[in-house]
Amino acid sequence: MSDKVNPIAAPLAAALAREIAGVNGIENLKRLSGGASQETWAFEARQGDKVIPLILRRAPGGDREKSATAAGLETEAALIKLAGDVNVPIPPVRLVLKESDGVGRGFIMDRVEGETIARKILRDEEFAEARPKLARQCGEILARLHSVDMAKLPPLRLSTAKSEIEQYFNTYKTHNHPHPVFDLAFRWLKDNLPSETPRVTLVHGDFRHGNLMIGPDGVRAVLDWELAHTGDPMEDLAWICVNSWRFGNIDNPVGGFGQREDMFAGYEAAGGGRVDPERVKFWEVLGTLKWGVMCTTMVMAFQAGDRSVERATIGRRSSETEVDLLRLLAPLKKG
């Protein structure tokens, strides 16, 4: 792309000039990898002799169609602002694109420096001081995130435990390959469905490594609000404990860096209310199963023609969730 100008560069610069006084161009526009359903671009805006590092989140190819499960980019931008208002660390949103901007659906936000790659966060010396604090910090952040005033929320889908189970059961049945451990887990979830949540809140829906920008000082920003919905706040406390997001550090249930008790203490101290560990366990089983079913959708994508080796092998990662489900539901008898 270095030898020709990206066609979205000029309209992006024009849109920015509308919001930020003195912006007279953009540079270093490049697509970041990752983000299967939304495009993420990094670039800098020139403002006199200053440069402002920014991120563009955009619908694939600038499409203006809306997908069924994703919250939608305008909604994401609104949620980031609301979360910022209750002191959840977020990347401030600079502008939401309009149709007349000619860049498609999306928004532009500040680029927060830090690391999202789990292996670096969990192993590198740079984060050694942050690691012991992260579990409590995640609890505090989630408490604030769940405190967003429901009356101010843009329209969001309500996702209960029951509806999530139904949704993923249907996906599993569509794939039509027998996974006896998945059936065991679905049965357990149906038999152990908790009473209706005493409190329906905003739920981030994908609060885990990859979506947390972390620096040596701790969590700097909560990213990727695409799967946000309303529902049981315990869902967020459980998803980050799913073994797949511990990246090998199995004895540190919270993201591979901390203990549940520290996260729960942070949550309660920051006003999140009482944590019900049984409820969190229920959601951890559901989260583990969800990720397992998502892996099988990679098989479907591969078989439907997305022929990359990576896509093909991810499909087999569903077995990782099966051993996690058995360890949760049918633990080996210690002998």
Binding site: P180, V181, D183, I250, R317, S319, E322, A330
Partner: protein, 127 residues
Amino acid sequence: MQEQPSAYELVDIVAEFIRVHAMPQLTGHAAFHALVAANALDMVKRELKILPKATSEEMERLRALLGHDGTLEDLNRELCGKIESGELTLDTDGLADHLWAITMTKLAINQPKYSGYVRALEEGYGK
């Protein structure tokens, strides 16, 4: 009785070719995908070694759990249906052992370094 080299030996030499000869000449995305490809072949190697015996044991347990014979796929579908309906539960003799066995076989093939698998071995699985 197929000719030699065996399927295992063929996959082994292709994986070695990718790692030793092809990968050093590749950069960026192609190098990354070559590594993923070599790892996929390692998975096939493990499957060739492990699966035949594991499958005959799986069939034996399925026949015992369901009380009749059938194809591997049909028996598995029937098992899934009976777990879904609650007819077979973790209290059913042999079900938990069966689920652990099929799962540990999958992991031994797909990802023997996975933390949950390693931990299950440490916790005494199979001893």
